[in-house]
Symmetry: C3
């Protein structure tokens, strides 16, 4: 939280990259479901900003980010609409978007941890706050698209968020230099996510065939 | 916000009509899914009051409408249960309900805008607040019925809400007479929605067949 | 609210039993959907703690229970993960879990009522607060598993919550002894739920085959 001004500006720039990337991948999910243009824009906003909004509602941290900065709504809905125009080239950009989405994941995680740290919350909640910020947007996207959330089954997505948060808090606890700790946590998380994508790493699944009720 | 007393009473009466109409159409959706009577009542409440509740939670505007006025819960669950009794006649009343649902849409939109105006929020958030109030109830209904939200694919539903909000705020910004502006915005929105239903107008769809992940 | 210390400790112990039981049944639901281990843990947390969290967000009652007591997150995710290890024996424990889940339902209901009573809210909202606390966790579980919420179709689940709440408030209103009223309401609710499970009692369903839109 005592990071230098340049670093907090870099974090903000990466946050903008992250929400644009999330809005654009959400737009493709909307296109799969044949939503109309306004639905595309709304799904983009909810996916990109829903994680931070859920965190803020859960922690009672008002005003929500996009209420304080309404242009985030314009940026994410604009990015989602732009995706309609360039959809035919998106498969060529697939790797770039997977990379940017991974950047978003670790940036959102660190920002979510910082919000909880700023509220003096305990470690478990700081980790949870980072994970909610990083992952819930995609869960909301999947619910609105009527799918089982990919998060619960995908390549180390939430795992990356938790480990990034743990590394970040652990480093701060050691009183190492804030900016270095943050950079190390984000680079670690980003690398892990990209390796998981590359080699198809995933958590073991729990497969249960019995009756529940 | 400086409307006359009579007009604010009329707005409140139309609000009651709107939540009753939304609860009744939600009850039919519940019947499609063979929910039990209590499920019908709950889906009615959530659909009719969920838009305003989401707005209030997102804006930190407490207490929520139905917490301050608990009889809204009784009114909407009562309306939903009544629908069970008269379901066999509902198809004859179809056009009336589409009309009342459209009334609810524009009334909820104006009320949502007013809440955000009262909190001194910027224009983008005022529009968003109107749209959340007007549209999110139906989204919650569709999620609970395990459908893809109709909002993202239906006849200008959210579009009507946005345009109604824009007209309303634009008029207030011009410092025209509050009641006239509100009436004009609502009549415009209502007309647009009914024309969209009549002629099957809809936003262009985004259809994407590529791989996302 | 003026219960003795021993009773409030007993209520707390039953609350812990309830969240563990809910997390474990949620883990089985996650296994049905082949979620990964982290997904299992997260679904356990959301199911066990989601009802109380929704109540607190809706009533503006901060901080949320698990934010104030982070070990609830560890307890419920631990219970969910433990379920993976013992899943093969779970069908033999089926009746125990149905019993513990019913205990959770009435305990959550009474706790939810108490929160609303502590905020001086009217009777309808106290009942609603109890029902949200008791039932919404299961609704969130079903949404995240992409099912129609069982609540809207299951054996008197929400009904038990409403009747337990009514009995509890009614008794308090009569100024009977708090602990006796609470015990009576919970035993009544538990008995009703178990009878409903045993004899397959359910609310009448509303089945509608017409067109909605």
């Amino acid at each position: 939280m005592n990071g230098s001004l340049e670093v907090s500006e870099l974090l903000h720039a990466l946050f903008l990259v992250g929400i644009v990337a999330e809005a654009m991948t959400a737009a493709l999910a909307a296109g799969k479901r044949e939503m109309d243009w306004l639905g595309v824009a709304m799904l983009g906003c909810v996916t990109a900003l829903g994680g931070g909004s859920t965190r803020d509602v859960v922690l009672g941290h008002y005003p929500l980010t996009w209420v304080a900065h309404p242009y985030y709504l314009l940026l994410t809905s604009g990015a989602a609409l732009l995706t309609i125009a360039i959809a035919r080239y998106m498969h060529r950009l697939r790797n770039i978007f997977l990379f940017l989405d991974a950047v978003g994941l670790v940036v959102f995680t660190v920002i979510g941890c910082n919000v909880a740290i700023g509220l003096n919350l305990p470690v478990v909640i700081i980790i949870a706050s980072g994970m909610i910020t990083g992952c819930v947007g995609g869960v909301l996207r999947d619910i609105l698209c009527n799918s089982i959330p990919l998060l619960f089954r995908a390549e180390l997505y939430a795992t990356v968020s938790i480990l990034t948060g743990l590394l970040y808090i652990g480093g701060l606890h050691m009183q190492w230099h804030h900016d270095l700790v943050m950079a190390a946590a984000m680079i670690f998380g980003l690398t892990l996510r990209l390796l998981a994508l590359r080699y198809g790493w995933s958590m073991p699944k729990f497969i249960y065939g019995g009756n529940i009720h």
